[in-house]
């Protein structure tokens, strides 16, 4: 159990006085896809956002627990959040490219950290777009606005943008929920092709998506982690009755 890249222990999160996450213990291998499933309001997105300190932006939210990323405490006072978020990238539910060109979108994170060398930028943009499986569709229009792309393409550009800073962990908050089935499928293919290089943590409402692409699945309910196991085990033969009920569609 020493080769885990990211470990969280006893994660509790409070909105004001109200406890919304009741002690979550989860850890992640350096590669592979981890699915977080559960009904709406079960706390899976909330938990995901603790991993790159996105709750720092929100007032009245307190996060407790131990978060260890490559042996470092994520919430340590001397942690450089900028560096942290370069290593733990994030993709959101709605595709959210900036209103700039495709190239500028992908190069954004690297430029902000001070890279000016055109050759390096070009190389990194191309690699990231290839990794996100969108290069062939946009290579002739890199300087077109990213907003002119379709939703599915925008989402893959958002993935490329997150990959460009060379993260080790990728957080995905329902990345296909706003997309049509064909686009969803393409994004799923993209994620599958990245599973050997990154630790990916994906929040999803789609049980079939979780079972198709993930290696490990965690089932959340009411701010509790009910069960975590190999995806096959969770879907074939879960330990808990609640998990069984949820995946068989009896509620949620």
């Amino acid at each position: 159990m020493t080769n885990k890249i990211l470990k969280t222990r006893n994660v509790r999160l409070y909105y004001g006085e109200k406890e919304a996450l009741h002690g979550i213990n989860l850890s992640y291998e350096p590669t592979g896809i981890n699915a977080l499933i559960g009904p709406s309001g079960s706390g899976k997105s909330t938990y995901l956002r603790t991993l790159n300190r996105m709750h720092d932006l929100t007032d009245y939210v307190t996060v407790n627990g131990t978060f260890t990323f490559k042996g470092q405490d994520i919430y340590a006072p001397n942690m450089d959040v900028v560096e942290l978020r370069k290593e733990i990238g994030m993709v959101f539910q709605q595709p959210n490219p900036f209103p700039f060109s495709i190239y500028d979108n992908v190069a954004f994170g690297i430029r902000i950290s001070g890279e000016k060398d055109k050759a390096i930028l070009d190389e990194r943009v191309e690699t990231s777009l290839k990794q996100a499986a969108i290069w062939d569709e946009v290579k002739d229009s890199l300087h077109k606005s990213a907003l002119s792309l379709s939703g599915g393409q925008q989402q893959r550009v958002s993935i490329a943008r997150a990959l460009a800073t060379q993260p080790q962990v990728l957080l995905l908050d329902e990345p296909t929920a706003a997309l049509d089935p064909v686009s969803s499928h393409k994004v799923e293919d993209t994620l599958m092709s990245l599973r050997d290089q990154y630790a990916m943590i994906i929040v999803t409402h789609s049980m079939s998506q979780a079972s198709r692409i993930s290696d490990q699945t965690a089932f959340f309910m009411d701010g509790h982690l009910v069960e975590v196991n190999a995806t096959k085990k969770i879907f074939m033969n879960p330990d808990k009755q609640e998990t069984q009920d949820y995946i068989s569609g009896r509620f949620g």
């Binding site: 978020r85 209103p99 606005s145």
Partner: protein, 296 residues
């Protein structure tokens, strides 16, 4: 009367109301333009005004109006931008202080402009000894303009979805970097629209200027661009009657024989300028938006 008939009646009534609004606007514009446009000529637009003889122009007043507008924007835009960014991006939306600031802005925007003018007169012209000057006028107009401009900057920023802020944060940008590199560029088209529209309002303002920028337009030497010379157009300490003030003055105490014609011509110029500002706002916002979002 059943629901269907009631709907029909309501539709007709609403059409009539909307139609009469347009009709009033068209009549007003038409009257001013028909009265004024025949007096327009290159000479009228460039010659200095005369006090007692016919044939005077509005050259100095026209220049003053634009220059005063420019100085006003120079003072008010940075403040409005800062205030707008603070209110929308930084301020705790639930705190009392933010509410207080918003209320203050609202009150400031509802002050009658003549009161702002008199306040400017007492404080800047008399107390700070700035005299009747472009600077006094610009500060008074800043009071008048600031609330509207701040509001429009704030609204522009508010339309940028939170997703963009989160995307910035997820890439490791600080709040300030997100504002500068993502939010402001994305909000630029609507901020520009706000500036140009408020420019139109400032351009036509008279009451706030009568007691601050003054009612006299000393002859300007357009060959002298040293801002410290008295007759230089760039001097901000000189009194400067603007076009709107000029119209008011001709109509209240003008004694030149062609006062009516000058007034009509000046009004037409004023209206045309304000209309141009509005069209410019629309054009700029469309073309900026296209440049930012559509294909190049």
């Amino acid at each position: 009367m059943n629901a269907k008939q009631a709907d029909k009646v309501a539709t007709i009534v609403l059409y009539v109301i909307a139609g009469s609004v347009i009709l009033i606007l068209a009549a007003l514009l038409g009257y001013i333009l028909i009265q004024g446009v025949p007096h327009l000529s290159w000479h009228f637009l460039t010659a200095p005004a005369t006090a007692f003889t016919a044939g005077g122009g509005i050259g100095v007043q026209l220049f003053n109006s634009f220059y005063l507008l420019f100085i006003t924007m120079l003072i008010s835009f940075p403040i409005a931008l800062g205030a707008g960014i603070y209110l929308n991006e930084y301020a705790n939306q639930k705190s009392r202080l933010t509410g207080l600031v918003r209320t203050a802005i609202e009150i400031l925007s509802s002050l009658p402009s003549v009161v702002v003018g008199l306040f400017g007169f007492l404080l800047f012209v008399v107390q700070f000894k700035l005299g009747f000057s472009i600077l006094s006028g610009a500060i008074a107009l800043t009071f008048f303009n600031l609330p509207l401009l701040t509001r429009s900057v704030e609204e522009s920023l508010r339309t940028i979805p939170n997703l963009q802020r989160e995307a910035g944060a997820a890439l490791g940008l600080s709040r300030w970097e997100t504002v500068v590199h993502i939010i402001l560029p994305a909000a630029l088209p609507s901020i520009v629209t706000g500036i140009v529209l408020s420019a139109g309002r400032v351009f036509g303002e008279a009451a706030a200027l009568i007691y601050t920028a003054g009612q006299s337009a000393p002859a300007l030497n357009f060959a002298d661009w040293n801002p410290f010379n008295v007759s230089s157009p760039l001097n901000i300490m000189r009194p400067a009657e603007t076009l709107a003030v000029h119209i008011w003055k001709i109509n209240s105490e003008g004694i030149m024989p062609d006062a009516a014609a000058v007034s009509a011509g000046a009004s037409a110029v004023l209206i045309i300028a304000v209309l141009l500002f509005n069209f410019l706002a629309r054009y700029l916002s469309n073309s900026l938006y296209k440049r930012l979002t559509a294909t190049k």
